[in-house]
Amino acid sequence: SQQGEEDPQALSIQEGENATMNCSYKTSINNLQWYRQNSGRGLVHLILIRSNEREKHSGRLRVTLDTSKKSSSLLITASRAADTASYFCATSRRGSYIPTFGRGTSLIVHP
């Protein structure tokens, strides 16, 4: 069963704009992770935020976590055409180490 759900399903922007993707989940979590998948490839881990953290940065990525609303957002600043990919959030329920994935957001960045 899907624990996290990303929103929007698809996002199309111009190079240089910011891209924001959201993830909602249902149960208490240990951590929340964001992954990226280029077309037809495996997933690559981007960033992990623990349940007691509110915000985390990594390069052009900013992740926020609101456990009261059971939601997270991934912001990609100054997007590039190379950021075109699908982005997935994954949660590990409290007491579990198994990442459960959402359906993903498909991001297209036009040059």
Binding site: Q33, G42, V44, Y97, P99, R103
Partner: protein, 116 residues
Amino acid sequence: DVKVTQSSRYLVKRTGEKVFLECVQDMDHENMFWYRQDPGLGLRLIYFSYDVKMKEKGDIPEGYSVSREKKERFSLILESASTNQTSMYLCASSLLHQDSRRNEAFFGQGTRLTVV
């Protein structure tokens, strides 16, 4: 760098065949996972393993079995392939660690299986 290697990128099999998908990781990870990915459905967990010879069913185990005889290798078996098992199969591994900052999953490149 952690490396997770799946034996095939593309595979075409006939209905009723027994199919083996192999996955090997080189970082001594305890946890290994098999997911399938279908358009509009995201990644769904088939089976996982947290130790040699240990296995647990995921959300969609029907029609599949797994084998973990060595720590680095986790095999997914389709006992009798059917057309509804045509999909992208992704293997992943992670540390079994109490510190939740260290249980990110590392994925293989995926195997696109077509059953005809």
